[in-house]
Point group: C2
Chain length 330, copies 2
């Protein structure tokens, strides 16, 4: 594809703000395109999107948990509740297990739902799950989330596993929600042992399974009794049934109460700024290693510098890249 076939960033930005589906799809493609000219245009696109929307409005929710826990059904149930509340919803599905576990089918069901029952175009779903072996795990999820934030009230990112190597969802969501299934000991063990990061909200799905679900919920609540996230939020645990629709309203309320809590504690904008700095640092570390980070001023220095700066993640990354390469001989 020649560079001239790439879309015009300002037109895209207008389309995104108007929730035009084609513009949204093209924007997400552009943000994930690694070619230099595409990157330049992607930076322009992000710079053209309304900064206040990206900084402090909307709600970026990460939903995570092992394959088979029912994340897709839960997403589907949440979409219905949010639409009843008149909120527009954007979904980024990054679960590499989806094609295996029948997620592609579910994705179709979600798309049907979005088309059939949503004349206003208040739901937009983008699945990155079919991108080869690792699904969308190598995708530019952070920049994509920003474009989604410019268009929707709620942006939900669905992944497998908290603290996963490729995409650490807790480092890019305002609110991280972990979905466990009844009687799944491993997640609780990892949580107890401090290996899995504590999410903001724990959900036991398939509550219709009865005793096992209640037992898992009790165990989670005991584990979480005195557990707060680093910001001081006390982590709740809920039981829901995505297929029967039980507890979904309560779940939507609890997600919203965490967003309100973040805003009240002046943390929403701060955290998004931090996510952006962490995204840039991670990319720099991947490209230039520990050596590069040191030569650019060290982890802490760079983090400080980045949280004080304005501008799109791509622009900031490129400036630091050039600074490093200036010292390379050939």
């Amino acid at each position: 594809m020649a560079a001239r076939a790439l879309p015009d960033p300002e037109m895209l930005a207008n389309g995104v703000a108007a929730r035009d589906r084609a513009a949204l799809a093209r924007s997400l493609n552009l943000l994930d395109d690694k070619r230099p000219e595409a990157r330049r245009r992607a930076a322009h696109l992000l710079a053209t999107l309304p900064a206040d929307k990206l900084d402090r409005s909307g709600h970026l929710i990460g939903i995570t948990g092992p394959p088979g826990a029912g994340k897709s059904s839960l997403t589907s149930a949440l979409i219905q509740v949010w639409r009843q509340r008149n909120l527009s919803v954007g979904i980024l599905a990054v679960d590499p297990s989806s094609p295996v576990s029948g997620g592609a089918l579910l994705g179709d069901r979600l798309r049907m739902l979005a088309h059939d029952h949503d004349a206003e175009g208040g739901v937009f779903i983008r699945s990155l799950a079919c991108r080869g072996e690792y699904g969308g795990l190598s995708a530019e999820v952070w920049p994509m989330s920003l474009a989604m934030l410019a268009a929707f009230d709620v942006v939900l990112i669905e992944t497998v596993g908290v603290g996963q190597k490729e995409i650490d969802i807790s480092k890019m969501s305002d609110t991280t929600c972990f979905v466990a299934q009844p009687a799944s000991g491993d997640s609780i063990q990892f949580l107890k042992a401090g290996i899995m990061e504590v999410p903001h909200l724990l959900v036991v799905n398939k509550a219709d399974m009865g005793t096992a679900a209640r037992k898992t919920l009790t165990e989670l609540r005991t584990t979480l009794k005195k557990q707060f996230d680093p910001d001081g939020w006390q982590v709740p645990a809920l039981a829901v049934s995505a297929t029967k629709g039980t507890g979904i309203d309560k779940l939507a309320d609890t997600l919203e109460s965490h967003r309100v809590w973040l805003v009240e504690h002046d943390l929403l904008a701060t955290r998004r700024k931090r996510f952006q700095a962490e995204w840039i640092l991670k990319r720099l570390r991947e490209e230039f290693g520990r050596f590069g980070i040191e030569r650019l001023g060290g982890e802490a220095g760079l983090f400080d510098e980045l949280t004080r700066r304005h501008g799109s993640p791509f622009d900031q990354y490129d400036a630091l890249r050039d600074r490093f390469l200036a010292n390379w001989k050939t």
Copy 2:
């Protein structure tokens, strides 16, 4: 500590070959010491150890699984069987959850066992679990394993999680053994979805728990029915009870049969060479990033070069590091 306080590598090498406990402990410390003079001596130590032992003898076993699956009890039970078979055993415990889940206590129990019942000093245990937040996950496990291989017939490395970010045990063990607990759905889900790498051997511990263990075993066997590791080994699943001692003999036999299979297929030496190359590549990637790997000839080129070379991992790493830095301006 002044550099002159560092031990003499040739004396250490003699001590390691004689299974002298103090020499072993000092060797492992030296191999994990990042200071330049220590690295120089560690390289010398590895170069002095008998190369044939490191290349193709002994058995390097990785044992992994979620916290609470009973890896430490299983290790303890395996030690007894191996000692009855007159095999010497070295253990590297790298499980960061151990201090939390009572592993430190188990470690003490293992040490007692080793001291009280083993007059010949045929068991040596080194726990890296108390090294701060991430346990021994930042330790130089590969070089440490090499020193252990020079001293013991069986070297067992205990970690949490297959395919874990910090230490991918499947990239440094001749045989990887995953321990699941009954009714733990997550591991099976991750395995099914292809997110978790398939180990060489699956063990359901706590078989005394009856129905749940049998159900998990059946589920694992169904999942594994047509699953082979990339080399063509058909993965077996066993039920054991570490606390009651049931199935441990069979487990030891199966571990040994995988080692024999590797030798018969001429894979043991090849794989160890590959592990060494991968260890070096990983370190280079951490230090110099994708950029560094490219400038040094690319992943495939470097891998080729490294598998053809002889010499300790440290020497090979340093040579490549110097090659990279020659192009750096200041």
